[in-house]
Symmetry: C2
């Protein structure tokens, strides 16, 4: 089965959590919107060509199925890519963790867009500073501390236990992104999440991920994505 991934070209963004799963598994997929004419196809699908239009990218097409929302895409792909267990309880637990990743990603996004995603960062800088101060003081540690405790309870070496899952790939991406966006804050914060950092290191060494990161398919972090380096926010 060939997968078609639809996401904005030029950024890692939310699409990256799906890309990492596909790449780790060595799955065959098209990153449609990065090809000629792809953005138009993406917009046509969202605009209602399909009976089940997704609200926003990323979404995945598999035959006639169109699946939007990162966590739903990974829920679908997980067992098929051998990045999730097949039993209902195991699948639901992973999904729950991924939905918490989703919440965290939204809060990370809002560090540069606390007033509105349709406005420029430059038009919400004072609000961004105040939001980010609270975010770095309270929220980062709350989320990362939660995942660290989940890892500890699992017995390791991965968040769901003995086997790697798509949630571990997402934790890799979270740590990479937070290091990019908030290098100073993360330097202090990482001492408390040594388990997650070890997961990040293990994921980085996986052959599919390693090949991907060294390829031109991995877009560099930049100031259009979720994780942005604005030194004035890295308090």
């Amino acid at each position: 089965m060939r997968y078609e991934l639809f996401y904005w070209p030029g950024i890692q963004g939310r699409g990256e959590f799906v890309r990492l799963a596909l790449e780790d598994a060595g799955a065959s997929y098209d990153d449609v919107a990065r090809r000629k004419g792809g953005i138009n196809r993406m917009l046509a699908t969202m605009g209602g060509r399909d009976k089940h239009p997704p609200f926003a990218p990323p979404f995945l097409k598999v035959g006639k199925l169109v699946i939007g929302q990162v966590a739903a895409i990974l829920f679908y792909l997980g067992p098929r890519l051998k990045l999730a267990p097949r039993d209902e309880a195991g699948k639901l637990w992973l999904h729950q963790l991924q939905l918490t990743v989703t919440d965290f990603v939204k809060e990370i996004h809002d560090t540069h867009h606390p007033v509105g995603s349709g406005l420029y960062y430059e038009d919400q800088k004072p609000e961004a500073r105040r939001y980010t101060e609270n975010f770095l003081d309270e929220r980062v540690q709350k989320y990362l501390g939660y995942f660290e405790s989940v890892l500890r309870k699992s017995g390791g070496p991965y968040l769901a236990g003995r086997k790697v899952t798509y949630v571990d790939l997402s934790v890799f991406q979270l740590i990479e992104g937070l290091r990019y966006a908030f290098p100073r804050a993360m330097k202090d914060g990482e001492t408390k999440i040594s388990g997650l950092v070890a997961v990040r290191d293990r994921v980085a060494e996986r052959s599919g991920v390693k090949t991907y990161l060294a390829s031109p398919r991995r877009i560099a972090f930049n100031e259009m994505g979720i994780f942005r380096r604005y030194p004035e926010l890295d308090l």
Copy 2:
């Protein structure tokens, strides 16, 4: 099977999307934290008594299974309560819609808490005003317009077509909540979403929902929940 729902007492909040499904179906459930000692049981589960601690309420206990995240809970309950189809494609489509409800609910919450959920509204009033201006101008119509178009494409009378699902119950709650929080803005906005308003009316007449709304189990909207009536924000 008796369900145990865990959520903060005193507010509808995110728990209400689950309550509406349980009540519509006439399911047998305990609203644990509204009983004596229930909050302690809730906090103990989150604090790690369980191997799979949820990040936050609401969560559902079914035997040994603990499911956090509203959309995941409804994904699990949907087919069991006959509020979702049983085929994979149908289940995923509903789940995708519910995840978009989740995103909308977070943006609604942020109208009074744009800087941080740990701070008082009173300490972020200027930011709340600016955020809400953009929210009412751009976001409400984007989300409601999306659901209205989904309804149209489905052929009706419900969002997934011929049969009522948990997503219709959530749309009921969204409209009720937005009417409570932003009566002036909604008065103008509702003309564009007549299909959704008809869904809301149909849901309100369902016997399980009707009984529930008239019972003391339905907590009134108030200024501790997701939907808050602050006249200065209803622009």
